[in-house]
């Protein structure tokens, strides 16, 4: 008997079923290679630096939704919340990388680090020029400890992929794109809150539940619990706290310009994201920070978590110009 409220055929075929539908829906933009599994843009751009990213599934539209003109050349989806294998990363990268080489955009998670590192070593040994950048924007897991895993990689990945995708499209070299990525990472911080955990495909258990008068603070994108549980407050106060903490971490000051992303974690209605964005805009305005560009939507998710994240990137002319460059992908287009 089926007893899980999900539109799926079953856990076993889940990732393949999703990718099959995705590839059919965007046949003009992408091509899905079934085994090893990866998604590449339909119109290859072999002369520029290739951008390759990936990670566990369950974060849709990240990363496959960002494959296309002006952003990623290939996305490598693992199983849900599970890093893809070196074999997948290698095959995807070889499919898109030309002489200009490839940048691997990796979110800071042990599994992703390990699998992408193994892939990079093998690619390198087989003559494909690769550099890797590790995105680590999530303030919730920032610690002082030395050997600690550090900040997780979350929604800033989208900013890195958009900006670096544009730079690659403009003809930047691998080192230039990699350095730019490093710069965007260094200037980006995120923080997320949620009213619920995530429910894996086919599972009737949610990773955690939150009482109706509380909110989980500092959650990640794998259904992990947050770092604290706070009393529920109006979104005005909630966003003010998120903004204050991110601003502090970025040393934001009056006159700075930022790119802001208010991102839904999977089951949050767009209306509430816009509402939160309005509050964020107010907070920044009061602090004299210029909200140069804003993006609101459901982009970097944790299956069906009813939460949201706020990401700020301190911008400069170059980053803003690259942000504005045309992009044509399934999830982002302008």
């Amino acid at each position: 008997m089926l007893d899980v409220h999900q539109f799926i055929n079953g856990a076993d075929s889940y990732e393949a079923d999703v990718l099959d539908g995705f590839a059919r829906a965007h046949a003009g933009l992408v091509r899905w290679n079934r085994a090893p599994s990866y998604v590449v843009r339909r119109n290859p751009a072999p002369d520029k630096v290739a951008l390759v990213s990936g990670g566990g599934s369950g974060h849709e539209p990240l990363h496959s939704g960002f494959v296309g003109d002006g952003m990623l050349d290939a996305a490598v989806p693992g199983h849900v919340f599970t890093s893809p294998t070196p074999e997948q990363v290698i095959a995807a990268t070889k499919a898109v990388a030309g002489d200009a080489g490839a940048l691997l955009v990796v979110k800071n998670y042990t599994g992703d680090l390990i699998n992408f590192r193994l892939a990079a070593e093998i690619l390198d040994a087989s003559g494909v020029r690769v550099r890797s950048v590790v995105v680590d924007d999530d303030l919730a897991t920032e610690t002082d400890g030395d050997g600690d895993p550090g900040r997780r990689g979350t929604a800033a990945t989208l900013v890195v992929e958009k900006v670096c995708g544009a730079a690659a499209e403009r003809g930047a070299t691998l080192d230039e794109v990699a350095d730019l990525a490093t710069r965007v990472v260094a200037r980006s911080r995120s923080l997320a809150v949620s009213f619920s955990g995530a429910q894996l495909p086919g599972s009737s258990i949610r990773s955690f539940e939150v009482p109706a008068d509380e909110v989980e603070f500092g959650v990640g994108i794998h259904g992990e619990r947050g770092t604290a549980r706070h009393p529920l407050r109006p979104v005005r106060e909630l966003v003010a706290e998120l903004t204050a903490r991110i601003s502090g971490a970025l040393d934001l000051a009056s006159g700075h310009r930022v790119v802001a992303v208010v991102n839904g974690l999977g089951a949050t209605p767009a209306a509430e994201l816009y509402l939160a964005y309005g509050e964020l805009a107010g907070c920044l305005e009061r602090a004299g920070v210029r909200l140069a560009r804003g993006l609101v939507g459901t982009y970097v998710t944790a299956l069906d978590m009813r939460g949201l994240s706020v990401t700020l990137t301190v911008a400069d002319e170059e980053i803003l110009a690259l942000w504005d460059d045309p992009v044509r992908t399934a999830a982002l287009a302008w």
Binding site: F81, P84, Q88, I114, T141, S207
Partner: protein, 208 residues
């Protein structure tokens, strides 16, 4: 004096027994991962071992061959545990030959542990599989130095791994995703460490 060795047939049965006990405990392994991570460990490792089970060749006459199948299966497992177990079993594959003496098993466990540590960066006490791999490697070495037969060496390793895994419940995690949930993972055994214990315990029926 002939050194007693583990045979290829025994290694085969050991790996099959490992697969069976993991499949039987998949739900618990995932549940532990749900409390300290993202809840997919049981699925991840089961998928790999089921695939490995289908690819093991009963006619394979080298212990090293069986471990190589295990390693390459895990390399296609993804996640954090996939490549780490792959590197670990790769250590065994390289240390063993047609058979495997207690010394070869100790060599493999040490090389594997070194690879896991290098790649994953975890130290003992970080609440990972390393907390079971490290005492198991030590136990194998002690047993090998005492010229123990594989059966005994593996029983010692199983005991050491089980203790190491059990103790992870008392650690708050620093490495891996368990570190992100901090106190919530307190009291929860690390599933990767538990899998290492199950691996050595699976030898008991197969190796004698």
């Amino acid at each position: 004096m002939v050194t007693p060795v583990l045979t290829a047939a025994q290694a085969h049965d050991w790996i099959v027994a490992f697969r069976d006990v993991v499949v039987a405990n998949a739900a618990e392994l995932s549940d532990l991962d749900r409390q300290s991570g993202d809840g997919d460990f049981g699925t991840n490792i089961t998928t790999v071992l089921n695939a490995v089970g289908g690819r093991l060749d009963p006619g394979e006459d080298r212990v090293a061959g069986h471990f190589a199948v295990l390693a390459s299966g895990f390399m296609n497992g993804g996640g954090t545990s996939g490549p780490l177990f792959a590197i670990w079993f790769q250590g065994f594959a390289e240390a063993c030959s047609t058979g495997a003496s207690a010394a070869q098993l100790a060599d493999g466990a040490e090389a594997g542990l070194a690879g896991v540590s290098r790649l994953g960066g975890a130290k003992p006490g970080d609440k990972t599989m390393v907390d079971a791999m490290s005492p198991a490697a030590k136990a194998l070495r002690v047993a090998a130095d005492q010229l123990a037969v594989p059966e005994v060496a593996l029983a010692d390793a199983a005991q050491a791994a089980r203790t190491g895994a059990t103790v992870t419940a008392s650690y708050s995690a620093r490495r891996g995703r368990a570190s992100y949930v901090g106190a919530a993972a307190q009291g929860v055994v690390d599933p990767g460490a538990l899998a290492v214990a199950l691996f050595f315990e699976s030898a008991a029926g197969a190796v004698r």
